[in-house]
Symmetry: C2
Subunit: 142 residues, 2 copies
Amino acid sequence: MEKAMEKAIEIIRERTFSGSDSRKYCVLAQEDLDGRITAAVITAAKADGIKHINLCSGINSNWAQRALRDNRAAICFESDEYCITLRGSLDILTDEKSKQENWYDGLENHFSGADDPNYCVMRFTTEVYKLFIDWEETEGSL
Amino acid sequence: MEKAMEKAIEIIRERTFSGSDSRKYCVLAQEDLDGRITAAVITAAKADGIKHINLCSGINSNWAQRALRDNRAAICFESDEYCITLRGSLDILTDEKSKQENWYDGLENHFSGADDPNYCVMRFTTEVYKLFIDWEETEGSL
């Protein structure tokens, strides 16, 4: 189990913006504004182990508006070889420090800078995880 | 828009069990039994355009039990180059014809055969779609 957790942490780190994996994204699932369930890919900005995954978006984006309405969410990192499911909550951060720390190249196409009032950080906090790694399943809560 | 839809239909068909893509799966998002949101990969058995995606599972599996409790669901087919988000409902089929038609190699590791009472088909019906294909976004309802 510890080995699966170590691998999960490494996979997630490599799939964030500063990682070496070319797939710097995850699938984020939420309840949509109309009450339906939705799921789509989003860039993973930064991670803190499997506990927190930080994502960047506009405060008026569907992602952020859904989180403000209902902060339940799930994140899935998957490939042909693994599936990491994290279930928890997605909270909107607008403080200067979080916005600076999570800024990545490319966001300048959408925002004037890290201090743009339209830009926000969506901080996912894992409550429950299920790891399918090396063809074995491990689950637990944090 | 028609072109994006044609491409989406092709992508999905290739990612089902009889398709030629090696990634014969999608991400399925649901509300979990504990009320949290969850998302994980599942094999795509068959598709009928983008309207229906059929998945196979055990009637006692978490997937099926979640669908019986709350049939809202989303399916996401993604790669480095596209993201197809389908939002709708997931219904459980247990009729003989559906079970026969959707059976695929490998299910014999989990079920005694297509007539196994534990085996069921989960039929996803798309209500709303969002296609990110060729770097353009298209959305609509069916």
